[in-house]
Symmetry: C2
Subunit: 660 residues, 2 copies
């Protein structure tokens, strides 16, 4: 029996978006982010590295041996994007770039410019021989993994095999070199495992799947670590290499590497039916969602090592929350959904999408956050994550990861298992499916996430029996996040209502979905009303930083207060339990947002009399994803409910003048 | 010409302490700390490692390959301590231990239990062959360095050559293996350089000095780093290996390693006359004192990597301040003084001694801080250094480093250059010197640091012309620290006065010393009065965390407010510029301290009315070194001068109950 995911995502090639929220973002990604990424790959000589590798001469021109991947990732993003926005010039550019990649490949398939340019003098991280530094430094298999991801996207989007051929040649080499009885290593930065699985899906070649599984099972085998050391570099946890994956129970180490590994574990569990691997990845997912995720969907609390902290270690002012980790976590949660068919995974995915992921890119499409702060205090000293966006980084993983995820979004909207059609994301547009051999078109038309009234038009070519499973978002069922790390302090009394062709319907629920089972006919209309009140969120009492504090959520969108709207401050705002918020759509603010306002106590300091008191003032909150687009200043996600204590701070020069 | 330090310290063997402040601490070190260290070396199987290495069988029983050094360091401390407290039982124990060390040594001198126990299966950090992992992991030369330090101390204290013979055999091997045309490496954790210099002093063998210089000059030669990386592990700065030492200008990387290196640079500069090395270590010292030192003398601001931060990066709540770095910084500043004869180096040394060094050990002599916090806030989440002392650590470098420094203190009191006798530290006791071939006894009798009236009795056997140079502490001359990182906001108007045999004398000053030049006769009495007011200290305006804040200093002692004396809090205290402190010696508090009290504004929160106001209250401050001996709670060194702003915090469960 051939195993696979029980549920299949509806391909991005079958979904056309027409969404007020997302389509402008995807257009900006196409018009600005992707061209800027390619331009920067040229300007920083990432492209030149390939040209020099082709000529086998020169000197590696950039900083990191994994700089090759920025080109792969941008090709991947551009490939998806061409589906949305056909663009001959871009297609031709990609073709030329792929030709350069092909010429840089060695005859046996090896592709890694950091060595091929001058094999006698490779990049110091590359090691003197192929693969010898792979565990910690070389990223040879990391580059391979991104090549495979890009190749499959390019093939699926364009039907062309140019990049795929290069990738398969490389993958055949990797499978020949690594495996039982051959070379062993736990790849230092995971992604080759996911990439191999994608190649397996395209080709059906079993070696790709078995080598992916081999790499996953190599983790925890290296004996050179010190298991007693608390240092994640010395005990191997940084690379998820401290234990065999079957013994791993916590999301640990570098968050991006971790979530790429967990994604691949889900892939391999699905495609091999390995129940132990399934159990392991389930356990780790519960740990991540239950104990290690920020309220805006970010992961990786600790800046040193860009990694997961201890359970409930989710401090605000030092939060790391790498944008790449949000990308990786989308991949992982999508796979968990495809395995289990439970809406909770999509709840997490949606939480990341609307919040901690897109906070990583500015509204201009070309300024980025590598880390995503939870709080900026003007009073705070070191350490504090950067309050302003940057154009590009020496290590530019995050911009190019956004460039590839954003245009892939159409592939996350629907999924299908036989006669079950899952509507996971509420994004206006049209998809064309085949259900029970019948063509079915489904159209979404609404103004989500600002409005909760969803409209689905279900149009089978001929009347057809099937189940439309509409996700009932956790937040609409008074569950702020699965597993209780966050809960609503102000739950809604409203219920979700569903009407079909104007008539309220009773519906069964299954795994967090409304199951609408009927013989669907042309132009059937499903209307779903989700309660969209502003709700106050509280964190689990073990999250020290958030004791006595609330965050603000409306629908899937988390809010923050930013200095710009609040008299130059944000850290002085109190949000008592009884606070009620007014909402107003502001089309001209931050490309159009639903804004929240309320009258709340705000702390004022009277330095002359050494007193602090609260005055009532209007506070304005904006979606978290939109912060840091109007200059630098304070930003807060979590607000104290009352003034229970203060920390004294002083930002004035001392009173007594000191002679210098 | 043979080069050397222009000034020589008066050996610890020639100074008998009788000091109210230090002698009880040295006795506790002898009675509690050293026995506890040996006991823990036995209980944790550090001793067993040597026994197994002697038998060439078994399995390395502890965690780190550098665990051997805890034995060396405790032998070193015990050797010094035997001078103070003759103890036959302890001497016999040390002899037996040295015999075990000798048996663990391989025939060619190699001594490293992590390999010798089972050379086919060495500790993973040790590497498959000798020395191959020395740059980053093995600590083979680190173990060697501590062996040499211990051997010289043991030889000088007891006259016995048992450990010295072992050390010399090892050093001969090291010199045979490493050097120009032989094996090259920048030792991963410096100290072998200092140790080799000590062996050179004892033996005069030039290879020891040249090999020390070789190791120092090896830094910055390795090509495998990425100089563009901001990561101190990837660019080599963690190991001070990013640049040749002659190009280094900043105190960088792991603070203990750094300060051991800088100590050795001073040694080699003195003993070779190398002016370039002298210039480099001078430059780095200016950077450390001018931009990277906490007000209590601690160094190494950043927990990740236990390392120096950027210039002026001296945050309070996350301060690392490893106790070992204070030990290393004492070594370094003593050497800088011996090179230059300037009191500013002793000012820094004294600052460390009375504050950030002895804060590392509890009054019980057996509980320790690895890192020394600057502020504990009950409101703070992660990260915050540990507010309670621990008995021992897996990596026990700090306890054993204290055990070896404390009893060496007599060697830091005096120094001499021909007819110049330097009185550097004000510690009661007696020393016997030879000046111009005449015996001279100097006795100090006073109650420093609590009282500023110092009394020196100078008794030459026969009347003799020489200069007594009494250090005029920077703090007594209104200089809080050399180079202006800290300054007094409330300078003293009092002057230092000096009387000889009851008569005020005019005196010349030289490099921060009062030069008392006369023909000294038996029982001449010098009385020095130092102004001991409580002074407010401000930090350089670039130290973000301390803007508008003051610290409290009296004499060399820095103060803090601890929860225990201040109604359970410390972070709510304001110290306005006009605050005047009362002082009272409390013999029964914390083994006897001078306590400070003042009436100051203290912030009170009225949660019901959401107001914060200041009330006047008595604040009590205790010496910083004495904190954390009465349980866990808030502690603050820096106090806001006025209420210019507050950070809202909340430690209450939210008002609205959430159903679980």
């Amino acid at each position: 029996m051939r195993h696979d995911y029980p549920i299949q995502a509806v391909s991005f090639t079958k979904v056309q978006l027409a969404d007020n929220f997302w389509l402008p973002r995807l257009k900006t990604n196409h018009d600005v982010t992707i061209p800027a990424s390619f331009q920067r790959c040229e300007a920083t000589q990432r492209v030149k590295n390939f040209e020099m590798a082709a000529a086998r001469t020169g000197k590696f021109a950039t900083i990191f041996p994994f700089d090759d991947t920025d080109i792969y990732k941008t090709i991947e993003g551009a490939s998806y994007s061409l589906q949305l926005y056909p663009d001959e010039k871009l297609a031709a550019y990609i073709d030329a770039l792929i030709a350069k990649v092909g010429k840089a490949q060695e005859p046996d398939g090896y592709l890694y410019t950091a060595r091929t340019i001058d094999p006698a003098h490779p990049h110091p991280w590359a090691g003197p021989e192929r693969w010898v530094n792979e565990r910690e430094m070389s990223h040879e298999l990391y580059n391979a993994g991104h090549l495979y991801e890009a190749a499959v996207a390019h093939y699926e989007a364009t039907g062309q095999k140019s990049l795929l051929t290069i990738a398969l040649k490389n993958a055949d080499l990797v499978c020949a070199v690594f495996g039982p009885g051959k070379r062993h290593v736990a790849p230092g930065h995971e992604i080759v495992e996911m990439g191999l699985v994608k190649l397996y899906r395209v080709t059906g070649k079993p070696e790709y799947l078995s080598t992916a599984k081999f790499f996953i099972e190599e983790r925890g085998q290296y004996k050179g670590y010190d298991p007693k050391s608390p240092d994640v570099f010395k005990n191997g946890a940084y690379w998820q290499d401290d234990q065999p994956v079957y013994a791993q129970t916590e999301a640990k180490g570098h968050a991006v590497r971790a979530e790429y590994l967990y994604s691949a574990m889900a892939d391999v569990a699905a495609l091999t039916g390995d129940q132990r691997m399934l159990a392991a990845v389930d356990t780790i997912w519960h740990n991540m969602v239950g104990k290690k995720m920020y309220v805006q969907g970010g992961t990786g609390a600790v800046p040193g090592g860009e990694r997961f902290g201890a359970n409930y270690e989710l401090p605000n002012t030092t939060a790391y929350n790498e944008t790449c980790a949000s990308v990786a976590n989308v991949y992982w949660n999508q796979r968990m959904f495809l395995l289990h068919g439970d809406s909770k995974y999509v709840d997490v995915l949606e939480k990341i999408l609307y919040n901690g992921l897109i906070s990583g890119v500015g509204l201009d499409g070309k300024s980025f956050f590598y880390s995503n702060a939870m709080q900026i205090k003007s009073s705070a000293g070191f350490p504090q994550t950067e309050p302003a966006r940057a154009g590009w980084f020496d290590c530019s993983c995050c911009p190019t990861n956004l460039a590839r995820l954003m245009p892939a979004l159409p592939g996350y909207v629907y999924a299908q298992k036989d006669r079950d059609v899952y509507a996971n994301l509420f994004i206006s547009g049209t998809t064309d499916l085949t259900v029970a051999q019948k063509a079915v078109r489904i159209t979404q038309q609404h103004n989500y996430p600002w409005q909760g009234e969803l409209k689905f038009t279900v149009s089978p070519a001929v009347a057809t029996n099937f189940n439309l499973l509409v996700r009932l978002p956790g937040w609409a069922r008074n569950e702020a996040l699965p597993l209780g790390l966050y809960q609503f302090a102000t739950p809604s009394n409203q219920k979700i209502s569903i009407r079909v062709n104007g008539q309220s319907v009773a519906y069964a629920t299954r795994n967090g979905y409304a199951v609408l089972a009927r013989k669907w006919r042309k132009n059937d209309v499903v209307e779903v009303a989700l309660p969209l009140e502003v709700r106050q969120v509280v964190a689990h009492a073990n999250v020290q930083d958030n004791l006595g504090k609330v965050a603000l959520q409306r629908g899937p969108v988390m809010y923050c207060a930013e200095w710009k709207d609040n008299g130059g401050r944000a850290s002085n705002i109190i949000v008592p339990a009884a606070t009620r918020f007014a909402t107003a759509y502001q089309p001209n603010v931050l490309n159009g947002i639903m804004q929240l306002t309320a009258t709340v106590p705000v702390v004022q300091v009277d330095a002359a009399n050494s007193t602090v008191s609260t005055t009532r003032q209007t506070m304005t909150a904006i979606p978290y994803y939109a912060w840091a687009n109007r200059g630098k200043g304070e930003m807060t996600v979590w607000f104290p409910q009352q003034l229970t204590d203060v920390d004294l701070i002083s930002r004035k020069a001392p009173e007594s003048t000191v002679s210098k």
